[in-house]
């Protein structure tokens, strides 16, 4: 039987930043939208995040950063996915991200950046449009 799997998302907080209001709200919004959600909790290294994404077999990683270290941390997550030979997990990010950093992040493989003021519905719509459950299950 060919059953369509739900979209699985890892919501992750890389680095030492503790601002988790956005990450927790987005995790709940994804859950309410019918996605399967894994929330990493705080203070994860890029290595831990990529390991969790692979183990949990997610389709997307949503990264949240509000303390300015997004350039290093988001880039590192993208690099590590590549190093692990993973090319079908979508990465998006959100938080306090200056406008001029957005194109740089997209260049390293972050598919979309959601800055303050983004509506939950719009983010959910974006996910539905841009993320497909990977592979086909049994």
């Amino acid at each position: 039987m060919n059953q369509k799997r739900k979209i699985r998302i890892l919501v992750a907080k890389p680095g030492l930043d503790g601002h988790d209001r956005g990450a927790r709200i987005i995790a709940r919004a994804y859950r309410d939208a019918g996605f399967e959600v894994v929330y990493s909790g705080l203070h994860q290294t890029p290595e831990q995040i990529v390991q969790a994404a692979i183990q949990e077999d997610v389709d997307m990683i949503g990264l949240s950063s509000l303390a300015g270290a997004h350039m290093y941390l988001f880039t590192r997550v993208a690099e590590l996915l590549q190093e692990n030979g993973v090319d079908d997990i979508v990465i998006c990010g959100g938080g306090i991200i200056p406008e001029e950093d957005v194109p740089k992040l997209k260049k390293v493989g972050i598919k979309e950046i959601f800055t303050p003021g983004s509506a939950l519905d719009d983010i959910v719509k974006w996910v539905k449009k841009n993320v497909k459950p990977r592979g086909v299950t049994y």
Partner: protein, 558 residues
């Protein structure tokens, strides 16, 4: 406050007026189905003496500087001395932040407030693998006593007070400050300032984490005990609602959880054997000032009255200073928008006005660009000027508690007090705040409120100008502050240089003594001061705590 006969007359007239109001509304409906505050509290169409008929002026409102302090903690309030204009600042290296401090002092700021970078806030050195990419990003990097010396170089720390927003490693940063002052010939009894040092709200909201709640309480009580005996002008804790609110709580939750945290600290200090009136006068508080103007003013007034009652009735304090709730305020970062950022100046001005009308002791006004990055000098100066205009042009500081006696404000003050005491009772019934945190109770309450609020914004039920209404197509460009890319490497090299020139045997001895003491009941502050004087790094000392007390992991509730 009103006699029965007058009240009966008002009651009859009010009934008639409400009828008239209803008739108008039946023809032209009200603008909104429900009028409510930013926290979701329903607001009635009119407030009259009937809403505050139970209040007793002397018992519930009283006079400034007198129990129950509803109208202010000092008798003279801003007629004597304006609030302290204390702008939070910190970026890049100690040298960079030192420059910003000199600028702020020359611009008329009357107190310093230090923002640290994430590694410092979490007790890691810049060279830790966990610190990669974070150095100097959201505040200043401090690894050793040398950095602390540079940070305050040339600043008159015997005349101005310094606040440090630091939590798990607060004892270490405080020890560095004390050691720095003493090296400059200023005794610890002469320095004044505040360390935030409030771990309970970290577990609840801000999440800079190191050790579990119970050993964290021990470290905090060590600082309170040490401060009471040796650093009498210092506030060893700033019990903070700010971050609880930023995490998405309502105004009442901010009020209730902050005071419940305060209760937990007082209880722990009493358990240590301290006399309540010996330490309670140095407890200080820190609140958020959000956009809902009257609700915020009422919150500040309710906080003062509640704390006075808690200290007097629950803890039997005798010294009126133990009943004072002195507080710092910061305007709400979470109310700022990245869209049309210049509007943030107006938001901040309104929030600052609420803080002043609420009787704050010190104030930080956010810069218009803080939703984008650390503030530029220009943006930080506008924010400070906002305070100057309030203080010296608007006339709002001419009399004390100008809104006291307003039917609306007094009624809100009373309602918020009652609701916050209900929360406190719930927490007491659980066994106190530490247990409540271990059960994730406040964390869940706040997450629910935050989600509810976001849904209201998304649905347009709550207006956020520039975000879900009055949207402009074009973004006005705002110049964002850049942090030097080479900073991290430079800081690592510098700290290595300090490590190579210190006496490593003495560092090891000091750390071993600290580790031994951590296993017993001694107050750890003296051991920490000895270690920082030998230039032990922040992380070397915090690793002793992590080894002795364990590491706390956020449960990740959402």
């Amino acid at each position: 406050m009103f006699n029965k006969k007058d009240l009966d007359g008002i009651r009859a007239d009010n009934k008639k007026w409400q009828q008239v109001f209803k008739e108008f509304v039946s023809k032209t409906p009200e603008r909104l189905k429900r009028f409510s505050t930013v926290s979701g509290r329903s607001i009635r169409n009119l407030y009259t003496p009937l809403d505050i008929e139970d209040l007793d002026y002397s018992r519930d409102i009283g006079f400034p500087g007198q129990d129950p302090f509803t109208r202010g903690v000092q008798a003279t309030m801003y007629r004597g001395k304006l609030w302290t204009m204390r702008m939070f600042a910190g970026l890049g290296s100690a040298r960079d932040t030192n420059k910003r401090f000199h600028l702020l002092v020359s611009e008329g700021q009357t107190g310093l407030s230090t923002a640290f970078d994430m590694p410092t806030l979490m007790g890691y050195d810049t060279d830790s693998p966990r610190s990669r990419g974070e150095c100097g990003r959201c505040g200043v990097a401090i690894d050793t006593l040398k950095d602390m010396e540079i940070l305050f170089e040339g600043l008159p720390i015997d005349r101005i007070t310094t606040s440090m927003t630091i939590n798990p490693p607060a004892p270490v940063l405080w020890a560095m400050y004390i050691a720095m002052a003493e090296k400059r010939g200023i005794s610890r009894s002469a320095i004044g300032g505040t360390i935030q040092n409030d771990m309970l709200k970290e577990f609840i909201a801000q999440k800079t984490l190191m050790c579990p709640p119970r050993p964290s309480m021990r470290l905090i009580i060590d600082t309170i005990e040490f401060g009471t005996k040796e650093v009498p002008r210092w506030n060893p804790i700033s019990i903070s609602g700010y971050h609880i609110r930023e995490a998405g709580s309502t105004a009442v939750q901010e009020l209730a959880f902050t005071l419940a945290d305060g209760i937990a600290y007082v209880e722990a200090a009493l358990e240590r054997g301290l006399n309540v009136d010996s330490f309670a006068p140095r407890l200080s508080f820190f609140f958020n000032s959000h956009l809902d103007f009257f609700e915020e003013i009422a919150k500040f007034r309710a906080a003062r009255r509640m704390w006075a009652r808690i200290m007097k009735e629950r803890f039997k304090a005798k010294d009126p200073r133990s009943m004072w709730l002195r507080f710092h305020t910061q305007t709400a970062g979470c109310s700022l928008t990245a869209q049309q950022p210049y509007n943030n100046i107006i938001r901040t001005a309104l929030e600052a006005l609420a803080a002043v009308l609420g009787g704050t002791q010190s104030l930080h006004t956010n810069a218009l660009d803080e939703v984008l990055a650390l503030p530029t000098e220009e943006a930080a100066t506008i924010a400070l000027r906002t305070q100057h205009i309030l203080a010296e042009e608007s006339g709002v500081a001419n009399t004390i508690d100008p809104l006291g006696g307003s039917f609306f404000v007094e009624s809100l003050t009373k309602d918020m007090e009652e609701e916050a005491f209900e929360y406190i009772k719930k927490i007491d019934d659980m066994g106190g705040m530490v247990v409540a945190i271990e059960r994730n109770y406040p964390q869940k309450e706040i997450a629910d409120s935050a989600y509810r609020y976001q849904k209201q914004v998304d649905s347009g039920e709550r207006t956020v100008v520039g975000v879900n209404k009055y949207i402009a197509e074009e973004m006005l460009p705002v110049e964002a502050l850049q942090v030097e890319a080479e900073l991290e490497e430079k800081q690592i090299q510098w700290t290595n240089q300090v490590k190579n020139t210190r006496n490593n045997r003495k560092v090891r001895d000091a750390l071993e003594k600290l580790a031994d003491a951590a296993q017993g009941d001694d107050n750890l502050m003296h051991y920490i001061i000895d270690a920082v004087k030998e230039h032990a790094t922040l992380q070397e000392i915090c690793d002793v705590f992590r080894d002795a007390f364990g590491v706390y992991r956020d449960p990740g509730v959402y």
